[in-house]
Symmetry: C2
Subunit: 329 residues, 2 copies
């Protein structure tokens, strides 16, 4: 392995000078800068990021914490978008990224998690898919041991920002959109798990529009589960004239049930995943841009790293109509 020392020798300068060139310090003459660069190129020198981090005590390493089961699921599209958005943006900014599934620390106590993260010289955490049940993780965030950015959970403190769309408004908007083409007097709303951070927010959104329009609202708890939504739809669809679901997977379940029952009700989902196209011919949904949300989260962690204090970031959302033909590529 060719080191900074070899480059120094080759260029006929001191190692410190090479280091300065590498880190583009201002006070180096153009002549020596050139000499050093040429020597580096000639020797095919590659700086060692590990040594650099150790020496400078400047770690630019963040961890992506995901709530991913070992089992693959059909909604991995969301997680995958989160991951790639984060990784690409992080590389752009010059941050090193490691991905961690928090199922790997399932029964482990908080201090073990912290120890692992510290041993890995993690400077910041990006947390996805958090629910109110994840005590250890929530403690972790609240401990303010690390700079954190939490996606889709409303936690903010000195060292923690959160990134989430305006859930209530989004739920309002998607229903508003459907009501432009379909009328409703009784809506069946299949909400998410009570331990989800977004459940109440979305529920508030649909409540508001129903009140405004004088629409009757039946709320059921679908656990974010396709199967549960399917069952609920079987039981309740006949009593309503529109079905609104707090997630795409539940919307798919509802759609399948309607197909089997052979009745029609407008249905809308929430996440805007490609998979929606397979559920039926057409469906309204909030289109969340997970890739960009994740990129935003990385920018936010960078901001925290530079000493700024935590805040709430609210990306834009859109409402779209997904149809089968949209997704054929």
């Amino acid at each position: 392995m060719v080191s900074i020392k070899d480059v120094a020798k080759e260029a006929g300068v001191a190692v410190s000078t090479v280091s300065k060139v590498l880190n583009s310090y201002p006070n180096v003459s153009e002549a020596t800068r050139k000499k050093v660069n040429e020597a580096a190129k000639k020797l095919n020198f590659v700086p060692n990021a590990v040594a650099s981090a150790l020496s400078s005590k400047r770690v630019a390493r963040i961890a992506i914490l995901m709530n991913q089961a070992a089992q693959a699921t059909a909604i991995d599209e969301i997680d995958m978008s989160y991951i790639s958005g984060a990784i690409v943006k992080a590389k752009e900014i010059g941050l090193d990224v490691i991905t961690i599934f928090y199922s790997m620390f399932e029964d482990k106590p908080l201090n073990e998690l912290i120890a692992y993260l510290r041993s890995q010289s993690i400077a910041g955490l990006l947390i996805y898919g958090l629910s109110k049940d994840d005590d250890v993780l929530i403690e972790l965030v609240k401990s303010e041991e690390f700079k954190c950015v939490v996606v889709d959970a409303d936690i903010v403190n000195e060292r923690t920002s959160c990134v989430m769309i305006d859930q209530a408004q989004a739920q309002y908007d998607v229903v508003n959109e459907v009501l432009k083409t379909d009328s409703a007097s009784r809506i069946l709303y299949i909400k998410g798990k009570d331990n989800g951070f977004v459940t109440e927010l979305r529920t508030a959104g649909i409540k508001r529009i129903c009140e405004e329009r004088g629409i009757e609202l039946m709320i059921e708890q679908g656990e974010f589960s396709e199967k549960k939504a399917r069952e609920i739809t079987f039981a309740k669809a006949k009593d309503c004239d529109m079905i609104v679901c707090a997630s795409d997977m539940m919307a798919i379940g509802a759609m399948k049930a309607l197909t089997e029952m052979d009745i029609f009700r407008p249905v809308c989902g929430f996440d805007g995943i490609t998979l929606m196209g397979y559920a039926g011919k057409q469906m309204n949904t909030v289109k969340q841009d997970f890739y960009n949300i994740s990129a935003t989260a990385v920018e936010e962690i960078d901001r925290l790293r530079s000493g700024e204090t935590g805040r709430k970031v609210v990306p834009e959302h859109k409402v779209v109509k997904l149809q089968y033909l949209d997704i054929i590529r």
Copy 2:
């Protein structure tokens, strides 16, 4: 930050002794071992993996190279399984993992990629989704600059292993399975892109079974694209009595076309993704266990790291019948 030195002082021993305890060297008395551990716990000491790596020159860091577009797709389930399988197994073995999308190095020359990997002290590479067009990556593997494990591409050399199921046999098996319940005299085979490493292998599999059974075979190139498969099906389905696709996405396209045409043909896919359940009521497929394939790949890279030479690893495959009800959870 509390370091090994602080622990040494607290325990009243030398730093080297602490180091030995940490790395569980044999020649340390039980008494001092205990002293050190207590001191470490008391000071809440966490070893610095970066420093350790630098000092020992023993880097246990691998990179996952993925061919993932920025755009999310419906088949992310596969990539996600690959990623989680690799990360979980790597943590088990004690390997550090970073994920890289090779789209990030799209137009960059080989040496830049190598420089990046070297700067990150990468000891081994896990490569997924490689096609024959990826010249730079193939060069990278052939350069033997890093230990590599390539998934689903038949490249082996001194420092490179590959992991892939027996593609020909799998394609044979799935058709064989369908033929147990449906007879066919003319099969439409929608194969993958010619630049794919598995395309010819799978094609060989179906050719063999058709020859054995005296079944006529029509082969079309579907580019692994749902849309293309759909078009092909529209054009050719009437001339055949069974459709076999070299990927699930193409099978879904074929299924959709059949539905629209309102005709029935047995269809089979290849990957066994959940999404298949949305395409139709029932479909045969090769069930690849991506999670475990990826875990196997990590084990293989660990083996290479320990000095063994490259080889080909062939995991088991299964044939299953996927139906909508299977996937409801």
